[in-house]
């Protein structure tokens, strides 16, 4: 217990990360609430492991704790790439229980959800600092990508030199605008997809293997 064990663990984790090239990379799935992170995580996990990662919902902040699926083996061009995927809570700068009241939620539940969501953002930011080797950044392509949250997170990811893929999700919807996302983050590759329909997942897997393999 305690200090020394913790220190030792963290040191060995750091050295593992540095020297064991074949350890699976831990890929954080990040993005604003409701972008489709969990839908994507579930699709990846189902495609390659048969399991799901967590519940999806049209109500924002469905994911309020980071969830991890380990040893997801993705096969691309005769090569197998193993990653751990971490589905994180949607990141935002404001959480207001009132937005949940529209979803037929009692005030008590809405307040609790909002508190948990806030804790979830703290957890997501913490993971970004300490525990991910790469990022899949998911955006809802029907919404404006020029937000403070996106700018700040992409900035942090860049400052950490983390490999990052930007996914323009929900291309099945009429208002989808992939180009706007590509314009917002020209320094990164933007891949269109529909995590819900499974459209363009082949390219997503190819890029995952390329970036995080």
């Amino acid at each position: 217990m305690g200090l020394l064990t913790n220190l030792r663990d963290s040191i060995s984790r750091v050295t593992d990360g540095l020297f064991a090239a074949d350890e699976p990379k831990r890929i954080g799935i990040y993005g604003p609430p409701n972008a489709g992170k969990t839908t994507l995580a579930n699709r990846i996990a189902r495609d390659w492991t048969g399991d799901a990662v967590g519940p999806e919902s049209h109500i924002p902040h469905e994911t309020r704790r980071a969830r991890r699926k380990e040893n997801v083996e993705i096969e691309r061009n005769g090569r197998t790439v193993t990653i751990d995927i971490v589905d994180t809570p949607g990141v935002t700068t404001k959480v207001d229980y009132k937005e949940f009241l529209d979803h037929d939620m009692e005030k008590d539940d809405a307040v609790r959800r909002s508190r948990e969501a806030t804790e979830g953002v703290a957890e997501a930011m913490h993971w970004l600092r300490e525990d991910v080797d790469g990022v899949i950044y998911v955006l809802d392509s029907t919404t404006d990508p020029f937000t403070q949250v996106n700018t700040m997170l992409i900035g942090i990811i860049e400052s950490q030199d983390l490999p990052a893929l930007i996914l323009a999700n929900k291309t099945d919807l009429p208002g989808s605008d992939v180009q706007q996302i590509a314009n917002a983050f020209p320094q990164h590759e933007t891949i269109p997809l529909s995590a819900l329909e499974g459209d363009n997942m082949d390219e997503v897997y190819t890029k995952i293997a390329e970036y995080f393999g």
């Binding site: 305690g2 220190l7 980071a66 991890r68 699926k69 539940d109 307040v111 508190r115 703290a122 913490h126």
Partner: protein, 218 residues
């Protein structure tokens, strides 16, 4: 001393590096926020009761069951017992006696705040002492008068507001606008080593140090 180990009660100044790898005294890795200016004065107890009404309804909404233990468990009950206690106890106690009884009194309050695995007493004592009356805040800022007068019980609202302000000053990563409404400073959250596991409406929170927490698999 804004942070306190929930296991042994040791306190740390804000920004202290000492606690980053666990409490040097007991190895504990859960700390809670303790605004500067909080005192062991029993009047803090009354500020706590006063804050019970605005914080209560939302506080009771905390569901610790799906959280990393130990998570805070808020129960409405302590509020009632605290209210019962007040007229008899605080009325006829001298400040010293009141201070001596603060520990037992804190038990009711403490359970309201922290359901910890061990050493509940210290955690409770700190939970109680976190809350400052408006009077104390005032005094602390002028830092002259001794804290012997009873607090202004008739003004509970400024107390929670002052506390919130103070918390927001010291802990800028999460601003509690009102119960259930938060503003987050992402950069600040990212920069902080420690990981917040639990927020409470009255300005308390419990944080956990990096190596101690795990995440749910699958």
């Amino acid at each position: 001393m804004p942070h306190q180990c929930t296991t042994c009660g040791r306190t740390f100044p804000d920004g202290s590096k000492e606690m980053l790898s666990g409490c040097p005294d007991c190895g504990g890795n859960k700390f809670q926020f303790k605004p500067a200016g909080a005192t062991e004065d029993p009047s803090a107890d009354e500020a706590d009761q006063a804050s019970g009404s605005p914080a209560g309804p939302s506080g009771s909404a905390v569901d610790p069951s799906d959280r990393t233990p130990p998570a805070p468990a808020d129960e409405p009950a302590p509020d009632e017992s605290a209210a019962d206690r007040r007229p008899s106890e605080s009325a006829d106690e001298t400040p010293n006696e009141a201070a001596a009884s603060a520990d037992s009194a804190s038990e009711a309050d403490g359970t309201e705040q922290i359901a910890d695995r061990s050493d509940e007493d210290t955690a409770q004592a700190s939970a109680r002492s976190e809350v400052v009356s408006p009077d104390e805040l005032d005094r602390a800022s002028r830092d002259v008068e001794p804290a012997d007068a009873p607090p202004a019980e008739e003004e509970p609202q400024p107390g929670i507001d002052a506390l919130r302000d103070e918390l927001n000053d010291q802990f800028e990563s999460i601003r509690i606008v009102s119960p259930g409404q938060y503003e987050l400073n992402l950069m600040e959250l990212y920069d902080r080593q420690e990981y917040i596991i639990s927020l409470q409406e009255d300005g308390r929170y419990v944080i956990e140090m990096p190596d101690a927490w795990g995440i749910q698999d699958e």
